[in-house]
């Protein structure tokens, strides 16, 4: 299995979904059954990615396969020398894992949608959009430079726009699509600025060469602040895509899209792209950047968890839980637990997809009823869905023997270690509180939908177990949430294949004084430090992790149990009446129910002022600027009128005046011609007299 062959296969994996998209879009009208072509392609893709994964981990475990080509060549530019923009592909362990995860969930969603979307009049186009999404997602994972990541980044934004606004008849759906695209674009601008800084200072965007130059000591614009700024800017891109605190508002609205879409995009893959990007640039993050990331992650998870507590729409709860879990992953990257972040990303992808598909099958069964208060007692009617849903809920709550427990526990341990080393205790605290709330709202959801008595008898009678095509993905995903796949020992993730050999924290290239001391490995590393098998952690951080491991585990299990207990007492055994509680803490309840009023805040501060400003500018443009132009025209007309008047009255006036004057003088003199001879003679005499006086010099 030569290296080149693996690269070719990976590129094939990348472009197959695009082919699927093109074929289905162009010929979808003529062949109604064409969607099967798309499903076939995705299945092939899955098999190929499994194959690549196996080959990669068997024979090429330690080296990344890279293939780059020049996209635009500027020749040698005056003052800068040769300059070109390179695109290329890099396949390393993380890529391969992501390949597998994306393709697996995409395939399962395709299968699920066969049944779920049956009867929709744009059935083919739906699968085409799924195809282009998979293509863009795979593109992000495979590219070895930031520009290509950016290209696929926006293409993923496009496909999410298309899929969210799939049922565009509903204004809310097209609004949600537009909102998603624009909010993502805000993040993308930050990402793009980060790219600009890097390209301006290093004249290349290939990650490896950038890291080499940073390691060699020259920082962007030769200042540490700019390096931190670059890190934060690129993280801004991740904030946009992974729905972190300021830019998370689009994810809950994105629930307007079909549920399988939410499962694929807004649970597992696309939102994970942000975490993947931060992990890619993890090595160049300075200490301050990591702190910012940790704080944003922690705060996001806390905020989303509080909002999820009071939501009544099943998909909204899951959406906020996704935001919260993403906050977890970002926090773990911030605190330096690189491997655990990716591990949580993978596990979260599986159980969250399972939860979404589960909710999809519930909604499908209840004829598109999404409000939990209408559901209840579905346990008997939909046993398989209930079983899968329960396992995933256990996983997300971090109950032992599940994959969620392993990854969440690792993250919490990491945050504890980070707290102990750097004294930022707020982050671990938030982490544990969120663990409690997650368990609570997840079990609240399970109880309200599956346990207790049906609240809407009519709908309940029609509810029936989903057909095999929908049930099968649920089962697979729930099975994948069990610990066995990741580590033989249920309690310690380190022993597992995931952490021991596959994913290692690459050594940071940031100059020593800028990064955390515990991040620097004491033992100098021989090969280039950003390749696969760099030393996992500096000794200090690894020790702290070991110390923190057990307390974190016990604490998280205790809190999880407490959350579950609380959920049961309130909803199952009705000891504490949730409504009475919410009335007591009414403003807190309302604050959480209305999503911390963030949407209204954004409308008030950004959206409406922009629209108002644009109306004002358009008015300004029409009246003032156009006014000036028309004004200039009227002014010239005015002046021409004046010069016309001037011409007729003044200049002509003179002419008439002279005529009039001569006439007047003529008349005056005419009186002299009296006809009498003597007056003439008198005149002659007087004029002679006058002449004498004038000429003669007395």
């Amino acid at each position: 299995m030569s290296e080149l062959f693996i690269i070719n296969i990976s590129i094939a994996i990348l472009f197959l979904p695009l082919l699927g998209f093109a074929v289905v879009i162009l010929f979808g009208k003529r062949f109604p059954k064409l969607y099967l072509f798309e499903v076939g392609i995705i299945t092939i893709n899955l098999l190929l990615s499994i194959y690549v994964m196996v080959v990669k981990f068997s024979s090429y475990i330690n080296d990344a396969l890279v293939y780059g080509f020049t996209w635009i060549d500027f020749g040698n530019v005056p003052l800068l020398g040769p300059l070109n923009i390179e695109l290329g592909v890099k396949i390393d362990n993380v890529t391969v894992i992501m390949f597998f995860v994306v393709n697996l969930i995409s395939m399962l969603v395709h299968v699920f949608s066969l049944e779920y979307m049956r009867g929709d009049k744009r059935f083919n186009r739906y699968f085409a959009y799924l195809g282009i999404f998979t293509f863009s997602m795979l593109g992000i994972v495979i590219s070895h430079n930031l520009l290509m990541i950016y290209i696929f980044w926006e293409l993923v934004g496009l496909s999410s726009y298309l899929l969210i606004g799939f049922w565009y008849e509903k204004k809310s759906a097209s609004d949600a699509g537009k909102k998603a695209f624009i909010v993502n674009r805000i993040g993308d601008i930050g990402f793009f600025l980060g790219i600009l800084i890097l390209f301006t200072s290093y004249h290349t965007l290939t990650l490896d060469s950038i890291f080499a130059q940073i390691a060699a000591g020259n920082l962007p614009f030769d200042s540490a602040a700019w390096l931190t700024a670059t890190g934060i800017l690129i993280f801004l891109g991740a904030v946009g895509k992974s729905a972190q605190f300021p830019l998370h508002v689009w994810l809950p609205d994105a629930m307007e899209g079909p549920t399988p879409v939410s499962a694929l995009i807004h649970a597992a893959t696309m939102v994970a792209a942000g975490v993947y990007l931060v992990s890619r640039i993890f090595v160049m993050l300075t200490a301050d950047a990591m702190l910012v990331i940790a704080v944003v992650g922690a705060f996001t998870s806390f905020m989303a968890a509080t909002i999820a507590l009071t939501q009544n729409d099943i998909k909204k709860v899951l959406a906020y839980s996704t935001v919260s879990q993403l906050g977890y992953m970002v926090m773990s990257l911030g605190v330096g637990a690189y491997a655990f972040a990716l591990f949580h990303l993978v596990t979260h992808a599986f159980f969250k997809a399972c939860l979404f598909l589960g909710s999809g099958s519930v909604i499908h069964a209840m004829h598109h009823e999404q409000d939990m208060r209408q559901m209840g007692g579905l346990r008997k009617k939909m046993p398989i869905t209930y079983a899968a849903f329960l396992i995933s809920t256990l996983a997300i709550s971090g109950v032992p023997l599940t994959s969620g427990f392993l990854s969440k526990d690792g993250i919490l341990a990491g945050s504890l270690a980070f707290g102990s080393l750097t004294g930022h205790w707020l982050i671990p605290i938030l982490g544990f509180v969120v663990a409690l709330m997650t368990a609570f709202y997840m079990f609240r959801l399970v109880i309200m939908t599956f346990h207790g008595e049906p609240k809407n008898q009519h709908k309940f009678d029609h509810a029936h177990e989903s057909p095999f095509v929908m049930a099968m993905p649920l089962v697979i995903l729930s099975v994948l949430s069990i610990f066995i796949w990741y580590t033989p020992l249920p309690h310690s993730p380190d022993a597992g294949w995931f952490l021991s050999s596959w994913v290692k924290t690459p050594h940071t290239v940031v100059p020593a004084e800028l990064s955390y001391d515990f991040m620097i490995s004491e033992t100098p590393v021989v090969e280039d430090q950003y390749s696969e098998h760099a030393v996992v952690h500096s000794e200090k951080y690894t020790e702290a992790m070991h110390h923190a491991h057990y307390p974190a585990m016990f604490l998280s299990v205790f809190l999880g149990g407490l959350g579950i207990l609380l959920a049961f007492t309130m909803y199952q055994w009705k000891k504490i009446d949730p409504d009475k509680l919410s009335n007591k803490l009414s403003w807190l309840y309302k604050f959480s129910l209305n999503k911390w009023y963030l949407d209204e805040l954004y409308d008030a501060t950004f959206v409406n002022p922009t629209i108002y400003l644009s109306k004002a500018l358009a008015w300004f443009d029409n009246t003032i600027v156009d006014g000036i132009v028309n004004g200039a025209a009227t002014v010239t007309k005015f002046f021409s009128a004046i010069s016309g008047w001037f011409d007729t009255y003044i200049v002509d006036g003179f002419v008439n005046a002279t005529a009039f004057f001569s006439g007047f003088v003529g008349i005056a003199f005419r009186k002299l011609q009296t006809g009498k001879v003597q007056t003439y003679i008198v005149l002659v005499v007087f004029s002679v007299l006058a002449l004498i006086f004038i000429i003669s010099p007395f």
């Binding site: 565009y168 644009s614 500018l617």
Partner: protein, 533 residues
């Protein structure tokens, strides 16, 4: 291929077409359409031949040796006029990396505009005669290397445009036509002044060694040719080069259009018939920026470097102002007019960076904007032909009624937004890379990124209002696009997709010239100090 006068042919074939159109008898008027189609078709073929024979690594901004397809003949040669010596004006044509993309763009857009004017029925002969005359004017501007010839073609383009908007336009066509005409004329008056100023301050040594005043752009670029006392010569201590630059810049800025001088564009677009809007947006807007690159930059390098911040500032204003105004428009065509103001702002920002990536991005953006906005106007034309209204709020849910058409619309809209993978993004990215790289205009570049966001805002909002949502009953009988419209939209879509994936097809063409321009600007600045105002 030396000897075959490809540029002259390229420029004057439409004139032959015009004559043919005028000659055909009245009753067979719709023959004019086919003649125009043939003429513009030949132009496209010639443009492709030009492109294929173009030598990619000939710089050719300021030295005649590296220009290609040069045609230089004596045009006006009056010996011994009393005090200004012999007047020698040459018919001097040539192309380099910057003008070839423009020639290609003009040929393609004219061909597509001819296709789109198939439905013109009011005095067809007059229309196509004016159309072909306009075509010659445009092509001439991009290939002429003599300032006098450049000015002749520049003015030649004005007259047919006036008639085309004034006669075949919409309700307020006279107002728009007059406004367009006077505005551009106002600009070209400035250009004339500077042209004459330059004429009298530079000498060109002829073959026989005699010194003679000259309009030859290449001679005007070379500082050695300037006399010691010329009004615009850099050696004269109190020269008026700064004012001349500003005047020339205003002349070109009106055409771009730049912020304070842009109000003619929305009116001209709203009132012009669809094919003319396509030409106006596709090609005419590029003349301003091309003029700056061809004339202002090489002839006044030191002032360009001095004022680059202001050009970038106005570029940024254009971007933000255009986008914000577009957000508030209710008429589809006016929205696209303001969006093209915003996109031309990117060209200015790229030009102002005076860096290779920036200027490459600017020229590529000129080409891309040409194709994308042409497609946008064709799209508006399609609806307008069917629904006879352009109000954005009158439509709704066309996606269900005209799915294929919505497909093309989506491509065009996302190209206009700057979605990677389509040509719009490549040039915008290069403009940002170029302008961000230059310390002086970095903050302006950062503010301009807001333009991408606003662009997404108004485009998606338009897409939603017109195409998404449920179908408005008024339009339930609109039929999808027909064969002719396919023939127009498909080539443009292919160009947008192809340049999005493989932009260096065009970038390689212009790269050497851009490099030599940047080199020229960076080296020639040192030896002149900016004379006092």
């Amino acid at each position: 291929m030396n000897g075959f006068p490809i540029l002259t042919l390229l420029t004057f074939i439409p004139i032959l077409g015009m004559i043919a159109v005028l000659v055909i008898p009245k009753d067979k008027a719709n023959l004019a359409k086919y003649i125009a189609l043939i003429a513009t078709g030949i132009q496209v073929v010639l443009a492709i031949v030009l492109l294929s024979n173009f030598n990619y690594n000939a710089g050719g901004i300021f030295e005649q040796s590296s220009f290609q397809f040069i045609e230089k003949f004596r045009w006006i040669h009056i010996k011994g006029l009393s005090w200004i010596g012999t007047v020698k004006i040459d018919y001097f044509m040539g192309v380099d990396g910057i003008s070839v993309p423009m020639v290609l763009l003009t040929a393609i857009i004219s061909f597509i505009a001819t296709l789109s004017s198939w439905k013109i029925n009011k005095s067809v002969k007059g229309y196509f005669a004016m159309f072909l005359l306009l075509d010659t004017g445009m092509m001439g501007v991009f290939v002429s290397l003599d300032f006098f010839l450049f000015y002749v073609f520049w003015e030649l383009m004005l007259l047919p445009m006036y008639f085309l908007i004034g006669i075949w336009g919409g309700p307020r066509k006279e107002y728009a036509a007059i406004k367009f005409f006077i505005y551009t004329l106002f600009g070209s008056v400035f250009m004339l002044l500077v042209m004459i100023g330059l004429y009298f301050s530079a000498h060109e040594t002829l073959a026989d060694g005699s010194q003679v005043f000259t309009f030859n752009m290449l001679a005007l670029m070379d500082a050695a040719n300037y006399t010691a006392d010329g009004i615009l010569s850099p050696f004269n201590p109190e020269n008026l080069r700064f004012i001349a630059y500003i005047a020339l810049f205003v002349g070109f800025a009106i055409k771009i259009p730049m912020f304070p001088f842009h109000t003619w564009l929305p009116d001209a677009h709203v009132e012009a018939p669809t094919p003319i809007s396509v030409i106006l947006a596709g090609v005419l807007l590029k003349m301003g920026t091309y003029g700056i690159l061809r004339i202002s930059y090489p002839m006044f390098p030191e002032i360009t470097r001095e004022l680059m911040w202001f050009i970038a500032l106005f570029g940024m204003i254009n971007i933000i102002y255009g986008a914000l105004c577009a957000l508030a428009q209710k008429d589809f065509k006016k929205l696209i007019a303001y969006s093209s103001i915003s996109h031309m702002g990117y060209v200015m920002l790229g030009m102002a960076s005076l860096s290779t990536t920036g200027i490459n991005g600017a020229v590529l953006q000129m080409f891309n904007h040409g194709t994308i906005t042409a497609m946008l106007f064709l799209i508006v034309g399609v609806i307008y032909d069917r629904a006879h209204t352009r109000g954005l709020n009158d439509f709704g849910g066309l996606a269900t009624q005209m799915p294929v058409y919505t497909g093309f619309v989506t491509v065009a809209f996302f190209a206009a937004i700057g979605l990677p993978g389509l040509s719009g993004w490549v040039s915008e990215a290069l403009v940002f890379v170029g302008s961000f790289g230059v310390e002086v205009i970095r903050t302006l570049a950062i503010i301009s990124t807001l333009g991408i966001l606003l662009g997404a805002g108004y485009m998606l909002w338009t897409l939603q209002r017109v195409f998404l949502g449920n179908l408005n009953e008024k339009w339930k009988d609109l039929k999808d696009i027909d064969g002719r419209e396919y023939a127009m939209l498909i080539p443009l879509t292919l160009i947008i997709l192809f340049l999005g994936i493989y932009p260096s097809a065009l970038l390689d063409v212009m790269n050497t010239s851009v490099n030599s321009l940047v080199h020229f600007l960076s080296t020639n600045v040192t030896n002149f100090s900016i004379s006092g105002l």
